[in-house]
Symmetry: C2
Subunit: 348 residues, 2 copies
DNA sequence: TTGAAAGCGCTAACAC
DNA sequence: GTGTTAGCGCTTTCAA
């Protein structure tokens, strides 16, 4: 009636549970013959390992915990996809938590992950994460902690990010090369590092091309479509000569796009537009949105690889390696994606 | 150094592990005073429950397994969101698997879920799921199985779906009311029930309005944007008088939209368009896409509620209830969302 | 190459 | 109201 155990198999074959366990785990000390015998018996009896028991005993769950702001955001969906692919082929499963950008849920997620004894945790930190205590907790428990995209240097953990500064620089320079010169920027909350980096990239690209940096051309929004609309409205009201917008996220770019379209402004002719993030809707809006791709799948794969390395180090028994060597930081190259919104037609 | 256990707390307070366990679980037979004592001690010692041990002993994991085709599809993302909200507030966590529409991954996911002793499993079946053995396995183990959207009657499990027939009927009738009469349909694989239902709804709406059903106006695609483009191309080549398209999924609607736009056809004036699914991109394409909303979050909540009911029944000890009463089937109402692509301007 | 024994950390009868 | 005992199903020394 109830689940078959290794005891049942042992009884059936007049052998011992420990032998069965070893055989099923392909332990070298068991003869090929008995392995075969035990495996077929397991099959016949419909045996399925109890991972709870196995994990409790061995101390390994083969589960990796993921905490992201939201899987609705295309970028995070892509990262999870990348992690999943590698995890699956390495025999790991994922336990996924969404913080919904609130610290409270983030803490809750980390707590549950720790209770579940996951083998490692991969995180992109929530925007309003109140403090980092829960992450220090993870480190105290010696559970490998890997960060991506939304990183905190203080945590001193392996991490993978893209070069936000460079991406913003590329986006801005692309607009300049297309002949735009009064280029506005819609940024995000400045306490989030990536937005500050993108702002710097924008500013430096202007300077490098001998264009003035004008505070009136810079808006600080939240990351919503609505916020993008409002920013575009304000920018337009204040700058009659504005001829392009670089938005720090595709969502605000979309909002701006909508507003300008409704205002009867032709893109890319009158105003050029480029976003950041290559969201799933970006190819399908009109005009299709130029943007910076962050290579999410790649980022996920790198993050998982970092985790694997941390595990290897851990089982190599090296105590407190982190004191000896700085944690690995992987910086991915952003990729410029040119679509309709930023390609100025040849002047007539 | 290593994790604090209830033994450590017991030792600290000169009491027994079982008392500590009961106190921490708020068992009624423990006095308020000792509970308080134990709780603060737990806090001080930085105690964290080992869920593996707890689950192994109690037989409950408080984890619910989810298997969906892909969380990239907006609809499934929404359902997961709905499940998560309710699960969280009921003390459950989710273990999420994506089948990527392949039976192999689906089987693998179910297998792992069973090994992990999840308390229940909520599934939307993959398109090419080869057979249903893995689901019968779940039922055999008496693990509550809940289906949503992609359902199989044979499994005789509680389920929640929307009324696909009705949604398709509403979509088609909406086009008719807008004055379109040569309405094409881009369907999907007919062995998937929802596509067949939608096709029937389309056909019946035409008939009910005394419009002929023309095989030349029906295409059977896959669910990709590319497939939508091809379908639109074929439809247009074969039917010069076609004046509207109802696509069984937003993805094919989008493909058709792109093709028609490139062909210089004005929507909604020359050809009206409506999709199904209310994907995240649908409001942002040009023209914005009318569609049928499937209430994904609602569906997720209903599915989890069904799971809770199944658990209650199970613990009520009713052996083989399923023989006594038919499994509950919840049918959600589709919602018509009218946007630009289907609203015919007043004739000039 | 196989088996016996111990125990991972917890919960749940049952006795006190 | 509290403590004793047993054991969930597995892995892992260690001895044979």
């Amino acid at each position: 009636m109830s689940r078959t155990t290794i005891h049942d198999i042992a009884k059936e074959l007049n052998t011992s549970p420990s032998t069965v366990s070893k055989a099923l785990n392909d332990h070298p000390s068991i003869s090929a013959a008995t392995k075969e015998l035990i495996r077929t018996a397991a099959q016949n009896l419909n045996y399925r390992q109890n991972r709870l028991a196995s994990s409790l005993r061995s101390g390994r769950t083969n589960i990796i915990g993921i905490v992201i702001p939201s899987s609705d955001i295309g970028f995070f969906g892509g990262v999870v996809h990348g992690i999943e692919k590698l995890a699956r082929s390495n025999g790991y499963n994922m336990l996924l938590f969404q913080s919904h950008e609130t610290g409270e849920y983030e803490v809750e997620g980390i707590e549950t992950l720790l209770q579940t004894s996951v083998d490692g945790i991969i995180v992109s930190i929530a925007k309003d994460s109140p403090n980092l205590d829960h992450f220090y907790d993870v480190k105290k428990r010696k559970v490998p902690l890997i960060l991506f995209d939304r990183v905190k240097e203080e945590l001193n953990s392996p991490s993978v990010v893209i070069d936000d500064y460079k991406g913003a620089y590329m986006a801005t320079e692309h607009l300049i090369q297309q002949g735009y010169s009064r280029i506005a920027h819609i940024s995000g909350p400045q306490h989030v590092k990536i937005f500050n980096d993108r702002l710097c990239g924008y500013v430096d690209a202007l300077k490098a091309n001998n264009l003035p940096v004008d505070d009136d051309l810079i808006q600080y929004g939240r990351n919503s479509i609505e916020s993008g609309r409002q920013s575009a409205e304000r920018l337009l009201a204040r700058n009659k000569d504005m001829d392009a917008i670089f938005a720090a996220v595709d969502f605000t770019a979309l909002g701006a796009l909508q507003y300008l379209k409704e205002a009867g402004i032709k893109m890319p002719e009158q105003i050029g537009m480029i976003g950041f993030g290559n969201e799933s809707f970006s190819p399908y809006v009109t005009p299709s949105l130029s943007t910076i791709d962050q290579q999410p799948a790649r980022m996920g794969e790198e993050a998982f690889t970092l985790f694997l390395e941390a595990m290897a180090q851990k089982s190599a028994g090296s105590t407190d390696v982190d004191i000896l060597e700085a944690p690995k930081k992987i910086v991915l190259e952003p990729v410029l994606i040119v679509r309709e919104s930023s390609v100025r037609k040849p002047q007539s």
